[in-house]
């Protein structure tokens, strides 16, 4: 009984294209695209209130940037990604600023389908890697995994 309930819950999350961990919520709408055409996957990210995550483009080498990995396999060629502008977070007591994201934002990933891509709904794996801090703690880097459904017509 419990097992069926867990399966139901899991399927519910997948159906709405939303995956969450304790700090970040990822929303991924289904995508439609014509064979051989370009389209975009818009991943909506929501960072828990009072937290920030490091931005994708960072000034310091060892800070862990936010990255979005999308495994297009052989069917999809991943092109460029567009992240929002970072916010500046001042490290109090220093002249240093961190580039961060907080609240809700969107990451766009442009892709092209191959000419021989099968017309069907494809299941594409995505991963959001991030490192979060709030005012009293910095947490180990985390990864949130999710699925994207790409309907190739």
């Amino acid at each position: 009984m419990i097992r069926w309930f867990i399966i139901f819950l899991f399927n519910s999350v997948i159906a709405f294209g939303q995956v969450t961990d304790e700090l970040v919520k990822v929303n991924v709408p289904d995508v439609s695209v014509q064979v051989g055409e370009q389209s975009v996957i818009s991943v909506s990210v929501e960072v828990k209130d009072r937290y920030h995550i490091q931005a994708n483009a960072i000034k310091e080498e060892f800070i862990i940037p936010t990255t979005l990995e999308i495994n297009g396999g052989e069917e999809f060629i991943i092109k460029n990604q567009v992240f929002p502008s970072a916010k500046q977070f001042k490290l109090e007591g220093t002249d240093l600023y961190l580039d961060v994201f907080d609240g809700r934002f969107e990451i766009q990933t442009f892709f092209i389908t191959q000419k021989n891509t099968q017309t069907k709904v494809h299941h594409v794996d995505g991963k959001l890697n991030y490192q979060a801090c709030d005012s009293v703690r910095c947490l180990f880097p985390r990864t949130i995994e999710f699925s994207i459904y790409v309907d190739v017509r």
Partner: protein
């Protein structure tokens, strides 16, 4: 009278629901520091037991922690300023591999040892009970600073508080001066 009691109850409930950081209250003060025996980047072994008789400053860090990196140059300054006064400084790197730690911290040219807490167990043992119970225990002390006195007791413990971030270690130095002056 009733309203006084009501106000007192409210004040206490607010006080005890606030995190320790926000209150500026330091945890574990006066307690014996949890023992450790760790290897430094250069392979040398250090233990709390062998360091007794010195003042020990410990900073828990990771290579990716922005607050740790911001504080790093000031730790080196502190070491140079206080080493003649019997103060030993250590960074305890939490849960990272040696190669990464070596590569990352080489830019700071530290003249004090960097200890490797590869599985995070030592860091976890320094996590104050009840503080941030939702976190893995080894995550809690990251970016914290401690002073352990000559007898192995914790005399200063500042958990990360980014709204009052003391990158220049002013409060830690004040406490060190006080301890050195009184010989405690």
């Amino acid at each position: 009278m009733k309203s006084i009691l009501k106000n007192l109850a409210f004040t206490f409930s607010v006080m005890f629901s606030m995190p320790l950081h926000a209150q500026g209250v330091q945890p574990m003060l006066g307690q014996s520091a949890p023992p450790f025996a760790l290897n430094a980047l250069n392979g040398k072994a250090y233990s709390l037991e062998q360091l007794k008789g010195n003042y020990i400053v410990i900073h828990f860090a990771t290579t990716w922690c922005p607050f740790c990196n911001a504080e790093a140059p000031n730790l080196e300054k502190l070491y140079k300023e206080y080493r003649e006064k019997g103060v030993e400084v250590f960074i305890v790197d939490v849960n990272e591999n040696k190669e990464l730690v070596e590569k990352s911290f080489s830019r700071f040219n530290f003249s004090f040892p960097i200890l490797l807490d590869a599985d995070g167990k030592i860091s976890a043992s320094y996590a104050p009970e009840g503080v941030q119970p939702d976190l893995e225990r080894k995550e809690v002390p990251i970016a914290s600073n401690l002073i352990i006195d000559k007898e192995g007791k914790i005399r200063f413990y500042s958990l990360l508080n980014t709204t009052a971030f003391d990158a220049k270690l002013t409060q830690l130095k004040q406490k060190l001066d006080e301890l050195i002056e009184t010989g405690k």
